[in-house]
Symmetry: C2
Subunit: 235 residues, 2 copies
């Protein structure tokens, strides 16, 4: 009548696997992140993780109730890493840019986890810290509270939305990912100027543009708009 999963701080017996690994929550999460980074999103399966750890796949269920619980632990770890070392400079535009860039970059680095995590509100330590930081930047810059909150919402959800979108693309199987990009050459590149004048005129530009994320552009445009609101609030 023992629970299958024992909380990490109550573990006494650390028994190495047949291949010699000593398991722990931490070791599993780190190996999982490493696996995703190296072999892509679709490599994160319980079986492959077991193999990477040097343990039977089912041993993982001694540490996490389900693969979803493992996913959440992974996400938490990721958020922590994204914040690491951030310092506000006092320049609102530079600070917002840096925060946005960090959120986006960190989810891009671990797309599989990002897909599941981007739309959740955790209320945990790291999340709280970013919310406080963003609101602080906006209010210090001179926005009234109502507008600061609205713009906070637009800013953070834009970062998360692009992160989710770009991460989902990265999380696709390599073949589908390549196929989606190829469409910009194969389909859009061959349309006639008679039927699709605007696409025909910009096809080469499109094919290049769509290879990268639209977030940097969207972020700068958002910062432009915030600057205009600040001018209006001040003047």
């Amino acid at each position: 009548m023992t629970e299958r999963v024992v909380p990490e701080d109550r573990r006494r017996r650390r028994r190495p696997t047949r291949q010699g690994t000593v398991l722990s929550e931490r070791a599993i999460v780190e190996t999982a992140l490493h696996l995703v980074d190296q072999q892509g999103a679709q490599a994160l399966t319980v079986r492959k993780l077991g193999a990477a750890l040097g343990a039977d796949p089912s041993a993982i269920y001694r540490y996490f109730h389900s693969s979803d619980a493992l996913m959440l632990a992974l996400t938490d770890e990721m958020i922590g890493r994204a914040q690491q070392g951030y310092r506000a400079t006092g320049d609102w535009r530079a600070d917002l840019r840096e925060i946005g860039r960090r959120i986006h970059a960190c989810y891009q680095a671990h797309p599989q986890a990002a897909v599941l995590a981007a739309h959740r509100t955790t209320g945990r330590e790291h999340e709280v810290r970013v919310v406080e930081a963003i609101l602080g930047v906006l209010r210090a810059a001179g926005l009234p509270d109502g507008e600061a909150v609205r713009i906070y919402h637009a800013f953070v959800d834009q970062a998360l939305g692009f992160a989710a979108l770009d991460a989902a693309a990265l999380a696709l199987p390599a073949a589908a990912q390549a196929a989606d990009l190829a469409v910009w050459h194969a389909n859009y590149g061959t349309l006639s100027a008679d039927t699709h004048p605007n696409i025909a005129a910009t096809a080469p530009l499109l094919a290049v543009e769509m290879r990268r994320s639209g977030y940097p552009t969207a972020l700068e445009l958002l910062l432009d708009a915030i600057a205009a609101r600040l001018d209006a609030a001040a003047g």
Copy 2:
């Protein structure tokens, strides 16, 4: 040596399944969309779709090379429905607002499908039409091609990113959805002004703001920024 998948317009023999259904690309896509709406994204498997159609799962592979090809067809169908009846007015700002609103609204209407669809590039009929429309609005408004393409990218991915984010929230189990919202009261509403001055000052505003989508605000800010670029390009 016959191809497994025969293009829809070259099909002659329509042979009912054992259960009497007559299959077609259209019938499969519609059943799939219906299935996803009713039972959630995870219900969209080849086997369940086969069962819903009244056909052997493998019969689907006579119409789509893979489940991914089916996914793309589904996506395009949704894009098509979103733009049904759209007419450009010639006012760039009103037109862009309407297109963005339609994309977001349609994905919100089918959140379970949107989660799967928002990040794919299909190159199919309906998608091509929207791309052409957006590029047309931006170029007609006076943006040079390079900037039109960059802003097109930011605009469309902003709409899709918010759609994906908001759809993912709607697609959550009701309990998780409620829990995520409650965090804004339960956690953020109780933080001390000493440790989190900016959150403490705006907590009630935050709790209200976070109940709705941030997209309308973000969209207006993006339109503001585009207007500024247009002024710059003209002046």
